[in-house]
């Protein structure tokens, strides 16, 4: 058990570190205009994606919203082709067509991030429907979404369907307190969003989203429920984005103090302390780890930068599954 815990903590720490460094690199490039389109960084929210990932199996599926780099990296997306996609390169996942908000990687069970708030909730529900239809006994779907998504209609329609049909889906709300400038208490009636699950007859819980172990535990339980045919769970992870809504956000809507308070609970810091206190890792190992991660990020970045632009014809491909734009027969 202690060994397991050590193993998990080390693995989580490694993933969170990698995500953080990856995102910091993306941020710099975005500021330089090297990234195509708006960029929504997950810095500060690493614990949610990493906690969820550790509770999942490789055959599980995920969907996410516009802020989902951490989800993709946690689930195993290749950082090089991901970075190339962010920069709109020919080597990118979708050869530059989808970009940051719409990363899709079926090979890693990533059915898609999404530029439309709440859409991920419905798609995850549908994937869970298929899993249940085929009676796959050890597979679940996680639908990530933000606090802002709980007030979209699709939330009601999908959670009702999942509750009604006992679908193997886990809804993970990353409550990072804001939707752009709007604080969750200014958008959401009735307190914690997790309470709304009761209206659909399944459990909703709020967990500390800065603690990957807490997220891991909650999702582990939810996954067990799901594969046992007991249906969905709504998990609201209280977390925080250290950066603005997108790169370039002037962030006039919150105080430095508020950011500082949340940073005190930084998940990377927290697990680092835990690992060191337990003598699982020492300072040198951590420095070495960080350096090797940074090298990997740099390599991904270099790969992307050195990759060619896509051929223009790519833009006309796969409007339809046979490959073309095909409105005409």
């Amino acid at each position: 058990m202690d060994y397991d815990r050590r193993h998990v903590v080390e693995s989580m720490l490694q993933q969170m570190l990698f995500i953080r460094l990856f995102e910091e690199s993306v941020e710099q490039d975005a500021l330089q205009g090297m990234v195509q389109g708006g960029v929504h960084l997950s810095i500060g929210q690493e614990a949610v994606a990493v906690g969820v990932h550790h509770a999942l199996q490789s055959q599980d599926y995920v969907t996410g919203g516009h802020r989902g780099h951490h989800i993709c990296l946690a689930r195993g997306m290749d950082p090089r082709i991901m970075m190339a996609e962010l920069m709109g390169k020919a080597t990118g996942l979708s050869r530059g067509k989808s970009g940051s908000m719409h990363l899709i990687d079926p090979d890693h069970g990533i059915l898609g991030l999404n530029g439309i708030v709440a859409a991920s909730i419905g798609i995850a529900t549908g994937a869970a429907f298929a899993v249940k239809y085929w009676q796959r006994s050890d597979q679940v779907v996680v639908g990530f979404f933000g606090d802002g998504a709980g007030n979209k209609g699709l939330f009601n329609e999908s959670l009702n369907l999942a509750g009604l049909w006992n679908l193997p889906v886990i809804y993970v709300c990353e409550n990072n307190q804001y939707a752009v400038e709007t604080h969750v208490r200014q958008s959401t009636a009735g307190g914690d969003l997790s309470h709304r699950a009761e209206g659909y007859g399944f459990p909703g819980i709020t967990v500390d989203g800065m603690d990957p172990l807490a997220v891991w535990e909650a999702v582990t339980q939810a996954r067990t429920r799901a594969v046992n045919g007991e249906g969905p769970t709504l998990i609201e992870a209280q977390t925080y984005r250290y950066r603005g809504h997108d790169v370039g956000d002037p962030q006039t809507y919150r105080t430095k103090d508020e950011i500082a308070d949340w940073r005190e609970r930084d998940p990377i810091e927290y697990l680092t302390q835990m690992a060191m206190a337990n003598e699982w890792l020492d300072g040198n190992t951590i420095t070495a780890l960080r350096e090797s991660m940074q090298r990997e990020v740099d390599a991904a970045r270099r790969f992307a930068l050195e990759s060619p632009d896509p051929e223009l014809g790519v833009a006309l491909q796969y409007v339809y599954s046979q490959g073309g734009t095909g409105w005409q027969n």
Partner: protein, 323 residues
């Protein structure tokens, strides 16, 4: 050959495809026992049971989204939206999601999702149950639109649709539900994007689809009496569109009338007219004339409905105005 209604023809095609492919499921309100409001899935509940013929809550957005998620994994859901008007509650799901996944995934994922809905005006249905929105869907890159006009086409096109991987909107005009026609017993598939020439003529080309095909044919009958012979083309699908059949005919007849039940202003007829004048300009002896509904919602009272929806005599007059 069996004589089947439009609705039954759908049920027949679906039943055969469901027997062939266990990944086809159908979801909608009141379909398991009732077989749908237009009899379109009658008998399937009994045949395949509630795991494949699934009664749902009234949640159009949730169902289209669910259908998409399931389709991404390889299931082949048919979501029956009942009236086409209710599709408006699922437009984000259709246009921002379903339509874009093949493209955004660069072909790595596909959405073999079929949406069935009944469109068009029916006496008394009124403004919120009578719309003809096929043009919007046809204009959306990534979606396919099927608008059959005969029972045989319903079966044949449905079979095709369930054997290909693009998302398809399958629109069946509600006033066609009860019409009957021969449907082959054999497994006949009809390719998408292949219009049918329903009547051959030399003086004018009438281009229609769905319910307006029969109006066009009636108009052609009247016109024949007056010595005007019309080529009547039934498009069958709007996306993909069979441009060649249309243009070839117009080059021969030099005159064209485009017909649909949607309001003329902003309707799909504008696309057809544009293509014709782009590709057959030098052959045209007269402007292409459009016949569609007036720019109003569809009122409830029958006589008022008839005042805004195009009819056979509107088509006849349109043809005469250019012949």
């Amino acid at each position: 050959m069996a004589e089947l209604s439009f609705g039954r023809a759908f049920a027949k095609g679906l039943s055969e495809e469901m027997a062939r492919d266990p990944n086809i499921v159908v979801l909608g309100t009141d379909i398991l026992m009732r077989g749908g409001h237009f009899g379109q899935v009658a008998g399937l509940g009994e045949q395949f049971g509630p795991t494949r013929v699934i009664d749902t809550p009234i949640s159009e957005a949730g169902l289209v989204s669910l259908g998409m998620g399931a389709a991404l994994l390889g299931l082949r859901p048919i979501v029956d939206l009942n009236f086409q008007d209710f599709m408006l509650g699922a437009m984000d799901e259709l246009i921002n999601q379903v339509a874009k996944w093949s493209y955004m995934s660069d072909g790595r994922l596909r959405v073999p999702l079929v949406i069935r809905a009944s469109d068009g005006a029916a006496h008394g249905a009124g403004p919120q149950h009578s719309q003809s929105l096929e043009g919007w869907i046809a204009s959306t890159p990534g979606l396919r639109v099927v608008v059959p006009s005969t029972p045989a086409d319903v079966t044949g096109l449905l079979k095709t649709v369930l054997r290909q991987d693009d998302p398809v909107l399958f629109f069946m005009h509600k006033m066609l539900s009860a019409i009957k026609g021969e449907v082959p017993d054999e497994d006949v598939v009809i390719p998408l994007g292949q219009a049918a020439v329903r009547r051959a003529g030399d003086d004018v080309t009438i281009i229609a689809y769905g319910i307006m095909t029969s109006y066009a044919l009636q108009a052609a009958d009247s016109l024949a009496i007056e010595g005007i012979s019309a080529d009547v083309i039934d498009l069958r699908t709007l996306s993909p569109l069979d441009v060649q059949t249309v243009v070839t005919s117009v080059k021969r007849t030099s005159r064209a009338v485009v017909v649909h039940q949607a309001p003329t202003f902003g309707g799909f007829g504008g696309e057809l007219t544009s293509i014709i004048q782009e590709q057959a300009f030098d052959y045209l002896d007269a402007p292409v004339v459009r016949v569609g509904a007036r720019h109003t919602p569809v009122p409830v009272a029958s006589i008022l409905q008839e005042a805004v929806i195009p009819n056979v005599s509107d088509i006849v007059q349109a043809v005469k105005s250019i012949c």
